[in-house]
């Protein structure tokens, strides 16, 4: 009985004793703790890898999205969503792209198209610039120039390189401007999926593979060298992003050209 009371007494008195350690105790403990945690480094590398891949994937998605877009207005809707992902810089360049679509002065286009239509419908042989201009009112008044005329324009447009007429230059110019004229009327650009777009994912895949390989190399480096390579890794990340922006810009430009010149 007394024994238990002693146990109780001592437990109650000393069981929860707190003694403040000497001030240098933590320093002594810290000096024994692992200096650099591999795990922490790997976590950061993993985060960087995730960033690179997700950035790549985001741009791939954007590319797909933009190629498949049906109108300018829809594209404009996409812009804020990309900015939200923190890739503003890349997108500013893209935003400027629609302006490139308007290739020349609309008045010139109209003139050229009409001129070409006129020359096609009326005078297939040698016509000079002045003659075209003269033919213009003819076409406007001519009841025969109608939908079929326009279709003919398109058909010939496709076969354009083979056509050898004296006013080749005028023809080419006209062909280039057929589509922009339509843009001007509707104020929208209609994109059709093209061969280029279908090939894009594969190309992009190789880029991603390249990036992945680089990242893997740097992870190996990071194991040997430690923290310093994080900077390099970031540089790679930036390069991949920049590459994607560049490719994206190029692709949009190409698509526009393809539309203008199918």
């Amino acid at each position: 009985m007394m024994e238990n009371r002693i146990d109780e007494f001592i437990k109650q008195k000393a069981g929860d004793t707190h003694i403040t350690p000497s001030p240098d105790a933590w320093d002594r403990l810290e000096s024994q703790l692992p200096k650099k945690d591999r795990k922490a480094i790997y976590m950061r590398i993993a985060a960087a890898v995730a960033l690179v891949i997700s950035a790549g994937f985001t741009f791939w998605l954007v590319q797909q999205n933009m190629s498949g877009n049906s109108s300018v207005s829809q594209r404009n809707v996409d812009i804020p969503s990309i900015e939200r992902k923190g890739l503003t810089q890349g997108f500013e360049e893209v935003q400027q792209l629609p302006e490139e679509i308007s290739i020349a002065d609309p008045a010139d286009k109209k003139e050229a198209v009409q001129a070409y239509t006129a020359s096609n419908g009326e005078v297939k042989s040698s016509v000079d610039h002045n003659q075209e201009e003269e033919a213009l009112p003819l076409m406007a008044e001519n009841q025969e120039v109608d939908e079929t005329e326009r279709q003919q324009v398109n058909e010939i447009d496709v076969a354009l390189p083979e056509i050898k007429t004296e006013d080749q230059l005028a023809l080419n110019e006209a062909a280039k401007n057929v589509e922009p004229k339509q843009q001007k009327e509707s104020l929208t650009i209609v994109y059709k999926p093209s061969r280029k777009v279908a090939a894009a994912p594969e190309e992009h895949q190789s880029e991603i593979d390249k990036a992945k390989k680089n990242v893997k190399d740097f992870i190996e480096d990071a194991k040997d060298k430690g923290d310093n390579t994080i900077e390099d890794l970031r540089a790679i990340s930036n390069n991949v992003v920049a590459l994607n922006v560049g490719r994206l810009k190029e692709k949009v430009f190409k698509n526009n050209k393809n539309e203008a010149k199918p």
């Binding site: 007394m2 146990d7 001592i10 003694i19 403990l29 024994q32 703790l33 795990k39």
Partner: protein, 196 residues
Amino acid sequence: MKLRIEKSVQENEWIDACLKNDRKAQRALYERYAPKMLGICARYIRDRSEAEDVMIKGFMRVFEKLETYQGKGSFEGWICRIMVNEALGYLRKNKSMYLEVEIEKAEREPDLNKIDQMMQAGDIIKIINELPVGYRTVFNMYAIEGYSHKEIGEMLGISENTSKSQLSRARMLLQKRLLEMENMLDQKVEGGYDGK
């Protein structure tokens, strides 16, 4: 209840951060538990600086083993067990633990109520520290940490009976010592001692 939940959330955050070798979290964990852990080590190890070394090693072990903490039971309890094991490891290495000391039975039981008013935790720890190491260890483990004789036997590599006999001898010594304290206090109180 709310406080308890918050505390455990904070603990979990610390643990997660410590697993990433986050110095701040490690330090926070240390600051939170070091005084109590040093209190434990000081009960097992008489020399204070030795006790502190053991506590530091104990924290090393805590950080090393943190991955294995399953979240079962209290985190503090988990750390306490690691500290006790560390202290036992130290004692095993440095001392021959099981001396048999002839103990005369105390002439009477000490008046614990009287001593209670006069004694501080530090005084009790001093008394525990005066015990021979074997008695001290078993007494600490059984009476304060709450291990069973079976567990103590396994942890110290002794039989249950040895553990029991060490405990009863520890109690006899403590009883005797407390009685001495009581007598001493009586004298000092008469002489105007305020008990501090």
